[in-house]
Amino acid sequence: MQYAIETENLTKTFRNGFTALDGVSLSIPKGHVVGYLGPNGAGKTTTIKILTTLIRPTSGTARISGIDVMTSPREALHKVGALIEVPGMYEYLTPREMLTYFGRVYRMDKAGLEHRIKEILELVKLSDWDDKKIGSFSTGMQRRLVIAKSILHGPEIVVLDEPVLGLDPKGIRDVRELIRQFQREGMTVFLSSHLLAEVSEVCDSVIFLDRGKVVSTDRIENIGNQLQSRTINVRFLRPLAQEEATRLMSVPLVEDVELIDNGSARLRFDGRPETSHSILRELLLRDFPVVYYTPEDVGLEDYYVSVMSDDRR
């Protein structure tokens, strides 16, 4: 099978002796949306810079659509569009001028290019700004413009390095919607982030990177299964009497109780759905005035921390 993105044992040691990547092997199938997740300094940008030929690996290989980026950069770069870190902007130019230049570099013909520029500016909601100076754009608009530039030539693969960096909640939602759209169009999306929540909504799978090594690779639904909560939030109709509070502690299967302002409580249990059900039945049998009963949202972040190595700090 030919992968959209494939690396074998990528290693990068910088001139100062720091090893940012230590044997990273990735195989990203075509048409997938894959999150590349890791804390600050994990090596995400370094990987992406190697994939886009900005830097050379110390060892290992990287292929885009089966084309080696080191030996055939021109062919490889035709297949991919990329947003890397926070690029500088041609502040004195307009989006149209900038995109026209890059379109010509990709050898798009005049008519097709004009049409495409219109299309993608509409997609990133910059249609009204096509002839305004980029220097006057907000952070979000600049980010969207670079995303537009990355898909200008209709690449099979798009690589986005922290695409929502610096965006407000609405901007984040817009970018998420864009990524879904790319996926519908059959593109492969490789998306780096340091927030699991950010990628979990759009990705098919997630690769966890920590200190230059891939520590885990999982499909999103598998991650969901591991996110079972071990805490239940229970709210009562009225504050519990002292006696009721004591009785709550003795409900079978409840491992621990934390009372919150007497009107609600957090119950610890083993996390199994069956146990959760039994506890609820016990509470009702014992006449606890339960108003609602919800497993606590374990954050994806907890999972994230559990995947990343413990000996950090």
Binding site: F14, R15, K49, T52, T53, L54, I55, T71, S72, P73, R74, E75, L77, H78, V80, A82, I84, E85, V86, P87, G88, M89, Y90, Y92, L93, E97, Y101, F102, R104, V105, Y106, R107, M108, G112, R116, V146, K149, H153, G154
Partner: protein, 265 residues
């Protein structure tokens, strides 16, 4: 949407990329108004020399042209100073490098844009000066060495751009290469020529000495702007042009080699 991959060594594609980069850079020069400002100077500066009423058209031209090298240097520093390091410093390289073209093509195009901008300045300067000569002295008085002078100015333009371009590939910041370039061509090299001259060594190999051809072609041992020149030696046309061409080529090639190896790390 694209016409597909091109072979790895594709001179035609490289030339096309160079041309695209050249046009793109020129657009930037226009939008940033820099070209406009320098062109305005090329119109205004020669007009100042109306104030000097000199006897012959040749002397008038030589006086006026003695200032042209300053403008050439300013233009080269302005247009070539950020050509390479600016791409890294401002991180626009993150946009332009991951595209299917060689960095050498990008830089070559930027170099050509700086050369063209400077040549435009030179052409305007000569045009204005010619009009003045016609106005003040009449058509019969047009100095004979003007063609050689113009050729020298054009070649000096390419060599000045090359020198700054080379600095732009070596230094980290645009502002440094602009200033260092400006000072090198207006102070350091002329002072060096002066020192060599006083040691009775002809500084034939120094580009700014060769640039004296710009006014010397019109009036032998004419005028020169900048630190004192004792006029013991005078550049010869052929060797002078050869020296300037050498700087042009060496600076350009050196800069493109260094620039395209510069790391994005």
């Amino acid at each position: 949407m694209t016409t597909g991959p091109s072979p790895r060594y594709d001179a035609k594609a490289d030339l096309q990329d160079t041309y695209l980069s050249f046009r793109f850079e020129l657009t930037k020069h226009l939008r940033r108004r820099r070209l406009l400002i320098v062109a305005a100077l090329a119109v205004l500066v020669p007009l100042l020399f109306y104030a000097f009423s000199v006897e012959t058209a040749a002397t008038f031209a030589a006086v006026s042209l003695s200032f042209l090298s300053v403008l050439i240097v300013a233009s080269a520093a302005l247009f070539a100073g950020d050509a390479i390091c600016g791409e890294f410093e401002k991180k626009t390289a993150l946009l332009s490098f991951p595209t299917p073209q060689r960095r050498t093509s990008i830089f070559a195009g930027k170099y050509m844009a700086a050369v063209l901008a400077t040549l435009i300045v030179v052409a305007i300067y000569y045009a204005i000066m010619m009009l003045q000569v016609l106005h003040l002295y009449g058509a019969g008085e047009v100095p004979s060495g003007l063609a050689q002078s113009f050729a020298s100015a054009a070649v000096y333009s390419t060599s000045a751009v090359s020198v700054v371009f080379l600095l732009s590939s070596v230094l980290q910041r645009s502002i440094s290469s602009t200033i260092v370039g400006f000072l090198t061509l207006l102070m350091v090299l002329p002072v060096l020529s002066t020192i060599l001259t006083s040691l009775e060594v002809e500084p034939w190999f120094i580009v700014t000495y060769a640039a004296d051809l710009i006014s010397d072609s019109v009036v032998a041992n004419g005028f020169s702007f900048g630190p004192g020149r004792f006029g013991v030696y005078q550049p010869d046309f052929g060797p002078g042009i050869a020296v300037m061409l050498t700087y042009t080529l060496a600076g350009f090639l050196g800069a493109v080699c260094i620039g395209s190896r510069k790391s994005m790390e």
